[in-house]
């Protein structure tokens, strides 16, 4: 693989819960993304897993600058994104696009499929006739019939809408796609088709993906590398196979346990129950534990020891290509 397409350094975003209109005051702060460093290599599929509210969608939106970061830098193909104005950002928007979870709502319901797909092209001054041709090309590429493009999104099924959304995202020939749970709201049989399409497109068009999902099986299937997020922080990063085969961080072990149960032939309900328990536990610990110092997972961790409560672990290099944010993996020379 070649170099990094995206380099994220010290990215931070917190959302303020405010009350009042004119005399606005902050009643609560949620840190969605907390001091994240991340490299996305050109041409790779980087999977991102984590529970709900772990900040994985926010991370992707920050990279696309759909949300403004509080702190940190984002470098895209050698260009610094943070601080660019709307105008300066425009040419870069061609290079990075997004596919959403809900396929129907990601298309404008009052515009035909053709208009939906052409919109990005027209924004960049492509002549109407040319945009039309490109639209037909794109729809064919995602496996749809362009002669039906005068129809409206609701006349298509969920899977077809997701194909349209992918076609629209590819309209500007981007290099990077942020896939925000692209198959989570689809049928299992359709999921497989969409994943196959995405993989096929990724290889043919040499795309780079950031693939966010809470479905661990899918991420394992599709992603080259996987990063595990919990409450806005990266806890583990490594080759997908390695992360899944031998999870290192206690949270990852616990989190993957929700899936391993199924693989051992256990019942679905058991896994679902476990996932729910974990989520509950995390929520409780989230409210009790002081978020300022120490590991974010310390409150619920079975293997915690003294430093976990006082010092926040950075990402330690565990093996060659594995990074774990846990004091258990602190290299000996850094211990003093």
């Amino acid at each position: 693989m070649s170099g990094n397409l995206i380099e994220v350094r010290g990215l931070k975003k917190s959302f303020q819960v405010t009350r009042g209109a004119i005399l606005r005051r902050v009643v609560g702060v949620t840190t969605a993304v907390d001091n994240v460093d991340l490299d996305i290599k050109e041409g790779e599929i980087l999977g991102c897993v984590g529970g709900s509210g772990s900040g994985k969608s926010t991370l992707g939106r920050l990279i696309l600058r759909l949300i403004e970061a509080d702190e940190g830098r984002i470098n895209f193909a050698g260009r610094e994104l943070t601080g660019l104005s709307f105008k300066q950002m425009c040419p870069l928007r061609r290079e990075m696009q997004i596919v959403f979870q809900d396929p129907l709502h990601s298309l404008n319901p009052r515009r035909t499929v053709a208009e939906n797909v052409e919109r990005p092209l027209l924004n960049f001054g492509v002549p109407r006739a040319e945009a039309r041709g490109r639209m037909a090309e794109l729809l064919t590429m995602v496996g749809l019939d362009p002669t039906q493009s005068h129809k409206y999104p609701h006349e298509y099924s969920g899977g077809q809408c997701q194909r349209i959304a992918i076609a629209r995202a590819l309209a500007l020939r981007p290099r990077f796609l942020f896939l925000d749970e692209p198959v989570s709201s689809l049928d299992v049989s359709i999921q497989a088709q969409i994943l196959k399409l995405l993989l096929d497109l990724q290889q043919r068009l040499k795309l780079t993906f950031l693939f966010v999902s809470h479905d661990l099986k899918i991420v394992r299937q599709i992603a080259h590398r996987t990063v595990v997020m919990y409450r806005g922080r990266l806890l583990e990063l490594g080759d997908s196979d390695a992360v899944y085969r031998s999870p290192m961080h206690p949270f990852t072990k616990n989190f993957l346990g929700t899936v391993l149960h199924v693989r051992k032939g256990g019942r679905w309900e058991l896994a679902a129950q476990r996932a729910e328990d974990l989520e509950d536990l995390n929520r409780q610990s989230a409210t009790h534990a002081a978020p300022q110092a120490g590991c974010v997972y310390a409150g619920a961790c079975a293997e915690r020891f003294l430093p976990c409560a006082s010092e926040r672990p950075p990402l330690f290099r565990a093996t060659d290509d594995r990074w774990v944010a846990c004091h258990l993996y602190r290299p000996p020379q850094a211990a003093q």
């Binding site: 061609r94 298309l107 404008n108 319901p109 919109r119 924004n123 749809l144 409206y152 609701h154 096929d200």
Partner: protein, 309 residues
């Protein structure tokens, strides 16, 4: 193509490459519903009456036939009777239709033209939106009729001032409808997709969002026309709107109030006319909503294929 499944449903449906325009659906959507068709026809008739009143009205609307004062409907030569000043009611109704439509419809249209951008922009910029909506709340605190009376009294009587007063009263209502629809709409992913494709804010608002929000406003406007006709009539009754010798349905209704026992038709006939007008606009508004929405209009057209080839 390596991967080309799930086109079955699309490919098997009948080839209909031509894209139907909104106008097509409005025409067929309204046309295919007998009730809406009747209502649209009524509005058309009213418009024709308003235009052709000088030609088709049997008498001058202000000509007095003193011998026939208070005669009920069915009097020879005066099919709808004669009012307390001996004026032919049919002629007055015909002449009044234009003024009534003007006083009822124009403020609503102008109100919508102002409140749609106001609501959209307010929903897009939350801070500005809060300020706008709180200002609207202040206007809301006054009852609609009272505010209109206050404004009309302040600006002085006359048709133009009345219309202006009604516009000011209507803007908060319509803005709230648009604002509510737009705040919901802006959460949806297609707006974020538009931003990801570098669409400027104003284009997102008026190209992407407007068609999704306008329907709510159109329907609301159609339903409120009735209330506006009545408020306009009330203003005219108080001497703040259209001035009395001019035929207008609201004035006609109020003028007959002293004769309700002896000659109820003087008030009742223009009253019925207003009711019919309001009803017609409400029904057309409903049909308009259904035929403007891509999700419902296909059902509308498909289920009644016998009505058009």
């Amino acid at each position: 193509m390596v991967d080309g499944p799930v086109t079955g449903k699309v490919a098997s449906s009948r080839r209909r490459a031509r894209r139907r325009t909104n106008l097509y659906f409005v025409w067929h959507g309204v046309g295919s519903d007998p009730v809406a068709r009747g209502a649209a026809f009524l509005i058309l008739v009213l418009l024709l009456c308003a235009i052709l009143a000088p030609v088709i009205a049997p008498f001058d609307p202000n000509a007095a036939h003193n011998a026939l004062r208070l005669q009920p409907p069915g009097t020879p030569g005066h099919p709808l009777g004669v009012d307390h000043q001996g004026r032919d009611i049919l002629s007055r109704l015909l002449h009044g239709s234009g003024m009534t439509l003007l006083a009822g419809v124009l403020p609503v249209v102008l109100g919508a033209v102002i409140s749609i951008p106001l609501g959209l922009v307010g929903a897009w910029y939350p801070r500005l939106g809060e300020i706008v909506m709180r200002l609207m709340d202040i206007v809301f605190a006054f009852p609609m009729a009272l505010l209109a009376i206050m404004l009309a009294a302040f600006m002085g009587p006359g048709l133009l001032n009345m219309i202006l007063a009604l516009v000011v009263t209507l803007v908060p209502y319509n803005t709230r409808v648009v604002y509510a629809a737009a705040t919901q709409e802006r959460q949806l992913a297609y707006i974020e997709a538009a931003r990801a494709a570098a669409t400027p804010d104003l284009k997102i608002l008026f190209v992407e969002m407007l068609p999704n929000v306008a329907a709510a406003s159109v329907v609301y406007s159609c339903t409120i026309i009735g209330a506006v006709v009545i408020t306009a009539a009330g203003l005219s009754f108080l001497g703040l709107g259209v001035q009395p010798p001019i035929a207008e349905w609201g004035i006609m209704t109020s003028e007959g109030r002293s004769y309700l026992v002896n000659a109820p038709h003087i008030s009742a006939l223009p009253g019925i006319a207003i009711t019919v007008l309001v009803l017609a606009f409400n029904l057309v508004g409903d049909a308009l909503r259904d035929s403007l929405d891509p999700q419902t209009r296909l059902r509308l057209v498909r289920h009644r294929p016998h009505l058009f080839g």
